[in-house]
């Protein structure tokens, strides 16, 4: 049962990141503009590197997760990315909230996530669930139902 659940979640998260990453690769300029709106990275090259690297990296990790290759590290990487995204979305939402005039959960903006404009509260709940799933997948000792056998790299005991 746990294996089936882990497989379903893995395919879901992997597929979602492939879709979201691919959407961004088709229009990296829009993603670059979103990064700029967060006002966290200042140097142009920093924004460019993130906008150029992140979408393809999301697709790559999503593919690995779906195919069952290097599952723990790819799940951990996606979980870490989600933590970073969630922090940035929260920070920006709080910034908008501090401008006053509306309830926190009524705030909507395009977070650059690849899904267009989102309601902040929905996005935060969704991300917390996805972060939990990603780290749960990353922490599982073994995985079944991989389309490809999990590639394990280790110089120790042939693991």
């Amino acid at each position: 049962m746990k294996d089936t659940a882990a497989f379903v979640i893995r395919v879901f998260i992997g597929g979602m990141f492939i879709y979201l990453g691919w959407t961004k690769t088709l229009d990296p300029v829009t993603f670059l503009k979103s990064i700029r709106e967060f006002d966290i990275l200042q140097a142009p090259w920093q924004m460019n590197v993130v906008a150029a690297w992140l979408p393809w990296f999301e697709v790559w990790c999503g593919l690995l997760l779906m195919l069952g290759v290097a599952i723990r590290v790819s799940a951990f990487s996606l979980g870490a990315l989600l933590v970073a995204f969630t922090s940035m979305v929260s920070w920006r939402a709080l910034d908008l909230y501090s401008a006053g005039g509306i309830a926190f959960c009524d705030i909507q903006f395009d977070c650059g996530c690849g899904t267009g404009e989102v309601i902040v509260c929905h996005k935060l709940v969704q991300n917390v669930v996805l972060i939990s799933f990603s780290f749960w997948i990353a922490c599982l000792k073994s995985h079944k139902f991989g389309l490809l056998p999990a590639i394990r790299f280790s110089f120790r005991s042939g693991r």
Partner: protein
């Protein structure tokens, strides 16, 4: 459950995911037709419009009208030395022979997809983010024109400003550079003539529309 020690010990797996993933990202970005040039300053070191002012924070929609956005943009553009054009002035161009003769050049600073969907008749596409693809056609037109009017989506959209700055840096005098700050949002709101697809048959379509309007 795997321990954190397991994750720490699997450094070759980390190398595979992060190293190969990063290498692939660099290669794919380089070869993609949409790829970014990481060395370029796309925003011309201009300050970000605060999220509180930007139209992306939807909570302001009730008290933050499009007209306010346009007015703020006009003030910002004038501070930077650009001259604004109003919707009335751009509408008048539709019947001005100088637009067709090239004495007045309209520049659409949005991307190709948006341009193909709809643009102001007679406009040339000049996407600031892919300027190399269009500049060879557009720059000579701008150099001989009396007026160059640049627009983008309107309101807080900054692409018209970036494109006008590109043109200025390429030798087009700032005296003849104008920005239509209301952009496509302002144009669409007034139900003015619209062209779709490429530019080459814009004037034919425009004349047909004008004749149809004149015919009782």
């Amino acid at each position: 459950m795997a321990s954190s020690k397991d994750l720490n010990n699997s450094w070759p797996e980390w190398l595979f995911v992060l190293g190969l993933g990063t290498a692939l990202s660099v290669i794919l970005n380089h070869h993609s037709s949409n790829g970014l040039d990481v060395t370029r300053d796309y925003f011309l070191t201009s300050e970000t419009i605060s999220p509180k002012d930007s139209n992306s924070g939807r909570q302001h929609s009730s008290d933050h009208s499009f007209e306010t956005e346009v007015q703020q943009s006009i003030e910002r553009l004038m501070q930077k030395g650009f001259q604004p054009k109003s919707t009335v002035e751009v509408v008048a161009l539709m019947e001005d022979p100088r637009l067709e003769s090239g004495e007045v050049v309209l520049i659409d600073a949005r991307n190709e997809t948006l341009f193909q969907e709809r643009h102001i008749p007679g406009a040339y596409l000049l996407d600031h983010y892919k300027i190399d693809q269009y500049i060879d056609l557009v720059l000579p037109m701008c150099q001989i024109a009396e007026q160059v009017i640049v627009y983008c989506s309107g309101g807080h959209c900054e692409d018209s400003e970036f494109t006008a700055t590109d043109l200025q840096q390429l030798g087009v005098s700032q005296d003849k550079l104008f920005i239509y700050a209301a952009g496509m949002r302002g144009w669409n709101g007034g139900a003015y003539p619209i062209a779709m697809g490429d530019r080459f048959d814009d004037f034919e379509e425009l004349h047909s529309m004008q004749q149809a309007q004149e015919t009782p």
